[in-house]
């Protein structure tokens, strides 16, 4: 490469350099801009042309509520931390990590207080897990037909989380014989807490301080949150400040009044922790328009709180016939799985829909199957199949 070419390439930064080196051989060097580009920068920002953002509803009390991830505008399986959905019960606390501590106590031999620095000295693990609010798609119980992926499915996101296994902390503290449950409490204004079965958190619970390679963002629990793989989002307590080992669940407001699933006979299921298998086609999807007949790649996301996604089937005839989609590898347990299927659209009106099957053999149900089993007062844990209707003009609508 000549000197002039090198300077041009350098203005693109490291990624541009690689591209320019290979381009030089193919002779398209001349197409590079002749003006110098932007300077180096300390913390990256996306291109000004990119506009994907969380949908933040207008609320009288914006400290309590949720904002949704634009899943149809993400690729692969990782959700950028900046777009991870939010669900707060009393706003985002501003925490100085130098002042933050985690207390581990209860039915243990050695109650311990950890500073953030001490937690980071402990053995660590990284895992890719989705987090889904059990209220995701909740409106579908009563008024089906969420107009787009973000509104209907955006309370789910997937990240790489790094931290200390709960097991390490509890082994350190020494569990006593009566220990059966663990309370996890946050440092937000409402000091939100949940009761979790000890068996589960010993298996794969993670006290996480990093998300996608950097410190967890304030809206995701900075500086510390609990990750309970596959369990409903609310159990993944943010701004974690206390773990108390106990002998029974403490019947928190958010495991009695809320996050319980009302059944037709007036009783409610409680401690419905696992998020059942679910999938949605993100492209083409509601609110978009196909420019015309021809080739499209149908893309979507599938996940299960009970393990790996084993199979995703796609139907382009409203559910009459199904074909297995291609699954992105590696397929990780309790993580998003990207599915893809090449498709030729003839230009006629069609209905497209996906259904996930997880490693337990469970098949994502239709809306009818769900409401047959649970009525329509459940609020939480809606995982019915989502049908999109593509009109002859290419516009995609919700069914």
């Amino acid at each position: 490469m000549n000197r002039r070419g090198f300077i041009k390439a350098a203005s693109f930064g490291a990624a541009g350099l690689t591209a320019a080196c290979s381009r030089a051989k193919t002779g398209v060097e001349e197409e590079l801009p002749s003006q110098l580009g932007a300077k180096l920068s300390a913390y990256g920002e996306r291109s000004k042309h990119e506009t994907a953002k969380r949908l933040v509803p207008e609320l009288k009390r914006p400290e309590i509520g949720s904002s949704t991830t634009p899943l149809a505008e993400t690729e692969g399986i990782i959700t950028p931390a900046s777009l991870h959905f939010e669900r707060h019960h009393a706003g985002v606390p501003q925490i100085d990590p130098a002042m933050h501590t985690l207390l581990v106590q209860g039915l243990v031999d050695r109650p311990v207080v950890y500073t953030m620095a001490e937690l980071k000295r402990l053995p660590s693990e990284s895992h890719i897990y989705f987090v889904e609010c059990s209220g995701n798609s909740g409106r579908e119980w009563k008024t089906p037909g969420a107009g787009d992926v973000q509104k209907g499915f955006g309370l789910a996101s997937c990240s790489e989380w790094t931290g200390v296994p709960v097991r390490v902390l509890l082994e350190e503290a020494g569990l006593q014989k009566e220990a059966k449950w663990m309370l996890a409490e946050g440092a937000d204004a409402c000091k939100m807490f949940r009761s979790l079965p000890l068996e589960k958190v010993l298996k794969d619970g993670l006290v996480a301080y990093a998300q996608n390679g950097e410190a967890i963002r304030p809206s995701q629990g900075y500086p510390l949150r609990l990750i309970v793989p596959g369990y409903e989002g609310n159990t993944n307590v943010k701004w974690l400040r206390q773990l108390k080992v106990v002998d029974q669940p403490y019947m928190a407001k958010d495991e009695t009044s809320k996050y319980t699933d009302l059944l037709p006979d007036g009783r409610a299921r409680q401690f419905t922790f696992e998020m059942d298998a679910k999938s949605v086609i993100t492209h083409p999807s509601g609110g978009r328009k196909l420019p015309g007949p021809g080739f499209y790649e149908i893309r979507g996301l599938a996940w299960s709180g009970r393990g790996r996604v084993e199979k995703v089937e796609v139907s382009v005839d409203g559910g009459a016939t199904w074909k297995a989609a291609q699954l992105q590898e590696p397929r990780l347990p309790m993580a998003f799985t990207r599915f893809r299927m090449p498709w030729e659209w003839a230009g006629n009106e069609v209905q497209i829909v996906s259904r996930a099957v997880d490693e337990t053999g469970y098949v994502q149900p239709s809306r009818e199957e769900l409401t047959d089993a649970r009525g329509s007062n459940s609020n939480y844990h809606y995982n019915g199949r989502k049908i999109w209707r593509i009109a002859a003009d290419g516009e995609v609508h919700s069914v």
Partner: protein, 189 residues
């Protein structure tokens, strides 16, 4: 020696089975928590009342505090305003419009104390004294017809309050759909 007040004898640990694991710390990173550290942070109240602090209050005593600290959001009689109603809904859970409140839905009175104590008033949690939390808890229970106006709520009476929907919760028996559903149930096609 402070530990003895909080923790079970070490002998139990030696006999421990099942979930009890590792007997000795591996890294020794982190500092031992003192009873004072724990007391400062632990405000949990168990369903049988463990953790309820001293203090007491009745519905009659709770009215003034409620009017000043709760009514603007939950309505003057707990009927709900900008925020959730705290009263009513008994008998609606099996209808198309269930109304879930402390009176119709909550299985334990202890968590009412715990929740108000930790989280209410929403914009100023931690403001109320224990006496005041007992008193507004009593008021909400009274408005729901669960206790009398002059019944005194404290660490020994609150756990004994019998909540109407105490038996209204069932264990998670999913999967209830999909090919591996447990109970065969005729399905409308």
């Amino acid at each position: 020696m402070e530990r003895c007040t909080v923790f079970k004898p070490a002998l139990l640990v030696l006999l421990a089975a099942g979930l009890a694991i590792a007997q000795s710390p591996k890294t020794k990173v982190g500092k031992p928590a003192t009873p004072a550290d724990i007391a400062q942070r632990d405000h949990f109240v168990s369903p049988d009342g463990e953790g309820l602090p001293p203090g007491k209050g009745s519905a009659a005593e709770g009215k003034k505090i409620y009017e000043r600290r709760c009514a603007e959001c939950h309505g003057s009689q707990g009927q709900g305003k900008d925020e959730a109603p705290l009263v009513g809904g008994q008998g609606t859970l099996a209808t198309p419009k269930p109304l879930k409140t402390v009176g119709s839905y909550w299985p334990y009175a202890t968590i009412l104390f715990d929740y108000i104590n930790r989280a209410m008033p929403f914009d100023n949690p931690g403001l109320l004294t224990y006496d005041q939390v007992y008193a507004v808890s009593a008021l909400i229970l009274h408005w729901n017809g669960i206790i009398g106006e002059h019944d005194v709520m404290d660490a020994s009476t609150l756990p004994k309050v019998s909540m109407p929907n105490r038996d209204g919760f069932v264990a998670d028996d999913r999967p209830d759909t999909g090919q591996i559903k447990k109970k065969a149930k005729p399905r409308a096609k």
